[in-house]
Amino acid sequence: MSESQHGALKLRVKSIEAVTPEINRYTFCPADDSWLPPFSGGSHLTVLIPSEEGTKRNAYSLMSSPYDTSQYQIAVRRVDDGKGGSLAMHNNVREGDVLLAGIPANLFPVSKHARHHVFIAGGVGITPVFAQVEELSLKGSPFELHLAVRGPDHAALGCELKERFGDQVTLYGHDGQSRLNTMEILAGRPLGTHAYICGPTRMIDDVVTSAHSLGWSDANIHFERFEDLGSTGDPFSVTLARSGAVIEVSPEQSLLEAVEEAGHKLPYLCRGGACGECETEVLELDGTIDHRDDWLSESDRATCKLIMPCVSRATCTKLVINA
């Protein structure tokens, strides 16, 4: 398997293809001619993107077949006023380049108990659906897809799916007229139907509201639950009280990783904010702590006297911890 000791994959950019005026599709193959880890439909890939302002970590849904371990595909929409990751993908990444990425993880799996799967998607939200319907199709599970696009120029990905899956796919907006109506799609469904929403927040809210008004149970409504932040975020600096060392925590590393990189030690076990081992006292703070752990209680968090360095960060001008 193409995997370094830190669980990072080395991917070679095999091809780049513009599928709409603002979306590029990237096909990656393993840089070392081995094979890639398998994944499940709905998984995302965190890609490390070199940019002028340092490395960006963006998560993109995998849209290739989960059963093809020779290549991965993602689609990237250019966001001109974003954090720069998608712009760097569009402007800097070329065919033949090698990029680092994490191992695929899934926060949006399809239900194994559904009798029928209904996907409602908008725009670039269609990407996870590619892998999900591929998986369902291979298993012989019934599904249908309703995809809204902004106009004919933006319909290429939808047309691909329409070509492959025929009547199971309905496009809206590609002709400049038809509109996706969530109430119509969700009404009168038998029990055992599961709905998946892949699109902007407004679409998710709209579909969930419609589903609730029609008596759907939350257990049958699925959408990507949260951004997979890990312990990355804005940079900050921390002072270790015992040695006086001042350590810069970069956007790509956790406080714990930064301290370790600087040659200091903190206790740790799970490195995932659950075990409590790395709990550290905060001695001084000018700013706020971004608690991301499952260990500290609400009252502990509110006092800002404790921090879990393995996942939590700070937005501050000064942070001194008892280490």
């Binding site: 191992i103 799970c270 490195r271 995932g272 659950a274 499952d294």
Partner: protein, 364 residues
Amino acid sequence: MTTAPETTAFKTNETYTPEGDYQFRNSAEGVRRLPFPFPDDDYMYSMNLEPHVPAGDGALRAAFDIDEHYVSECAHRDQMLRDMPGVHYLALPHMMEAQWDLLELIFESYARDFPEQFTLTKNGNEWRWQNRLLGIDDSFTFGDPATLPMDPMEYATRQAQGEFVVLEEKDNTLVIGAGMTTQRADYSLKFNLGMSFFEFHGPVPKLHDMGILDRALKFLLRMKPGHPVRRVNWSLTVNPRLETSVETLPEWAPDRATVDSENAGEKVYLRIELQPLHRLPRSNAIVFPVRTYLVSLAELVQHAPNWAKRIHRALASLDHELVDYKGFHRYHAAAVEWLSQYDDGAPLATGYPWAPDGIQPNGQ
């Protein structure tokens, strides 16, 4: 200090049953490579989860450890499955994908970590599996159950040490979907199949109040493929009996009354459970393996005197609710008394044996 697997002498004629007269012994090297589960003199539950990365050259060197008991344990599994069909191995129909995931994980790990014993050759989906310890050389099509003589999970775990419970992610919890549990410690797979995380942990005292279960579930749901974690757990058992299920309780529970402070060293076994959890890539399921190691108190005294002292202190100070839950209140005092002869009270290192400066089996 520990033995590399290349030089391990695999025992073939051990037994884990009274009918077989419990012909089970650990070598000195076999004891000293154990994942000894007592980092401190006092024991209490904790979220002792850590990244499952190779550590040392003992039981934590490989992703899935095998040792000198591999051949006899596989024979025991076969015997248990024949004795009580439909009790020790179960898989719900929608778990087939997870079964293949697990087969791949076990076979890849064994072939990578023990290349002298196992070889996995892949040509697309046409796979060849060679297991030289059990004399198996099979070819099959990955993903096609018709090309194997039985379920993929049963096929793979019949050739693996330890038991395997596969948890399906559903409605933000984990549900037991399949299991190969010929070595289970006092529960029933048939009863637990389909239970959720909080349900199957129901009988464990203190866990709920301590909030450990909530945090553990959140942590497990965030687990990603390629980033396994491990924890160790332990219990005591009378005789080197691997199969101590609820179904056979009338056969083994009376053994608890046979222990006294004279024979505790030979009768009482520490049962160590090494649990390396993995997220499975295609099914998004989580496998919860329980690799069980048995070692008698006398073997600890003989081959790992520091560990014998440590277990004496941990047992002597153990919370009474845990003594009851783990099922040894009848012989707890006898075991502590027997061990006390071998504890001089000298200070011991803290930390698991595989951690830097952790407690070593012998020496300073």
